[in-house]
Subunit: 308 residues, 3 copies
Amino acid sequence: MAMNIRHLISLADYSKEEILELVKLGEKIYNSPKDYAKSCEGKIMATLFFEPSTRTKFSFESAMLRLGGNVLGFSDANTSSVKKGESVADTIRCISYYADIAVMRHPKEGTPKLASMYSEIPIINAGDGGHLHPTQTLTDLLTIHTYKGGLENHVIGLCGDLKYGRTVHSLIKTMARFNTKKFVLISPEELTLPESLKRYLKDNYDVKIKEVRYIEEAIEELDILYMTRIQKERFFNEEDYLKLKNTYILDNDKIRNGKKDMIIMHPLPRVNEISYEVDSDKRAIYFKQAKMGVYVRMALITKLLEVE
Amino acid sequence: MAMNIRHLISLADYSKEEILELVKLGEKIYNSPKDYAKSCEGKIMATLFFEPSTRTKFSFESAMLRLGGNVLGFSDANTSSVKKGESVADTIRCISYYADIAVMRHPKEGTPKLASMYSEIPIINAGDGGHLHPTQTLTDLLTIHTYKGGLENHVIGLCGDLKYGRTVHSLIKTMARFNTKKFVLISPEELTLPESLKRYLKDNYDVKIKEVRYIEEAIEELDILYMTRIQKERFFNEEDYLKLKNTYILDNDKIRNGKKDMIIMHPLPRVNEISYEVDSDKRAIYFKQAKMGVYVRMALITKLLEVE
Amino acid sequence: MAMNIRHLISLADYSKEEILELVKLGEKIYNSPKDYAKSCEGKIMATLFFEPSTRTKFSFESAMLRLGGNVLGFSDANTSSVKKGESVADTIRCISYYADIAVMRHPKEGTPKLASMYSEIPIINAGDGGHLHPTQTLTDLLTIHTYKGGLENHVIGLCGDLKYGRTVHSLIKTMARFNTKKFVLISPEELTLPESLKRYLKDNYDVKIKEVRYIEEAIEELDILYMTRIQKERFFNEEDYLKLKNTYILDNDKIRNGKKDMIIMHPLPRVNEISYEVDSDKRAIYFKQAKMGVYVRMALITKLLEVE
């Protein structure tokens, strides 16, 4: 087992300073990408997607290619032969010879962590079941840093499914470390933030928490509105779902009283939780957010490969 | 929506001059590929194949790689996650951040057109259902230009399924713009060229049209013989299909009386519509035609990326 | 048909000197990979995997990328359109225009050979059914050459399924050409080496052959112990399989009396035929063997492309 290699399995393993360093490097690359166009020349990234996620895979591959590196990988364990019964430990040991860094998405929680214990190359967790997806959070942080001028002292509204949403939990835990002023939790009663997470925040941080049912109740004070999808499967009956769904679809009406410099974020893909009319509002930056994902991944790759 | 970006959705959107420019650039690249080996350095092409088409995908990827660029993509919507219910508009907006140019094949007519309306990067239509496949036509044009010394004044025989064949309709409409002398339509009665297309030709161009049932009736006058496949599914009963099939299988006998400098084309893949014995005839250039496809796509990519 | 192109379909087509040259070049590249980092610049490899084999595909792709070349390909005939009924001859003729070298894996014996007859570019057989897999054998040879200081005069133990194992048959036939001192065949009675192969060895080479049932009977004299998997499907009943399985699982006990400089090899993936406890034994080099696979493929590619 290789002991001196740095991986990214969870942001909890990274100090506040390290996270900020990644975000700032991401911004630097965003501002002068040409300076990094050959940083990873001769390096190979393996994208090991044991379940498909085209967007995340493309974002990583684009990041590596824009750094002058190369990519090999698979997008679905079914069209690969990795299901022959080989252990994750064996698989990753061999991948270590084919590539210089590996990105792993796996339906089973903890698999990227396990892989990192046997790998001779850096492993990046690109999502393990409903558990962690740290590069989505890094993407959100770079977006906030770029479009709000910094990570500290914001009033952050989080809207939608706060109970099951992996993205939201990770964002809350990470932003709490950066002196967030207030979290405004906007969700139906069925999908509120887990008590354990609220308790964790209260015990560890000096952050205000406010819970409301409707966007309109809190829109005026928000610096950031982070939207997420409400999935039909979360409800006992169709009727409840339909009733609630419309309450949480963002439209021009609901953001009318928002601050002029508020930003509206969404991890994408969206289905119908944000009306298309909102897209042309200057505060809607969810597509720019997707763009930021490439740059923060470029920063992460250069750091882990120690080419920066 | 980005307004100043050039796409290739249909050749009908391109002037005769623009088409000729692409064909000539393709020929130039074919003659000195090394001059273009770094034209697209640092650029990324996304190949978005919502239905598989290995040959077309390879041709585009080879073109981009031979220009020094890079490629990311998927070959089947089922092994990608693009079916999560996201709109084409949202998908393409994100792809714009991952790549500099996108090639799209989609089973649904009009989808590449729709994508181009939201894209911030050039979109190339690589086939949308039975509708359009403009780079196949460009391939045919470069082949004719190279092997017949120009595009004008030819007698062009088109043989096989003229009713449903997307390739044939597009080729006819485009070649008509280049002063074709005569189209000789060779097909069974069940699969003749649609009346509307014949009417369109007569109304807009000074081109002769001749319809025959058998290759032998017209072979002597042809400069170009363009073969297509006759698909079993087009017939009501097996008996009709079997009867006709043999009539339209090209063999050495049927081309015996053809001109010495006639060229025999086929968009490939062929199943059995051209006997293997024809392959060694010097006039059979359908494999060279596939080769030309790479060079005309190189020309198209350099034009759309404005690196030429 | 192109006549002057060199392919690798079977090692039987290569002289002893040519094989040794490949192995030595592999070792040279392994020792100074940077000297070869741009050997294949501007070249394209097509990986045509008509059945999935992630490990072999990655090994080839990594080899090509580490030589500065590019890669395009498919990993499964079902997500490609190559099954439209086109002949292998037609497919490979077109691939010749998209790539400079092609690697083919196919479930049907003889398909890579057939392809090579129509190809204008070098074809490498990456496995055709249960028939041949020459680059696995080259990998084994480079491993032996590197870790045993040469290919000649070894006592080689082969353990497991010697009846059906393609890898083992190919290794035996090739190593016999390099003055192997003795083959020790370790297998259950149901899975012994075919009589025809034993006859072939006796008729052509001056090599000793010893057959035993248990690893412990021969471990002391081995320079090399080559393990393979015993597949459940080979047995008539579960009971026989379970009884035998444990006999052929390698553990620390079974290798206790082996030489200090013996090497333990395995083509991977392993399922349970080698206990994890063996991994930390210095003599276990099966992961290093996988690493060697990349370098010998780099050697092969540079030779076939004549860039060395």
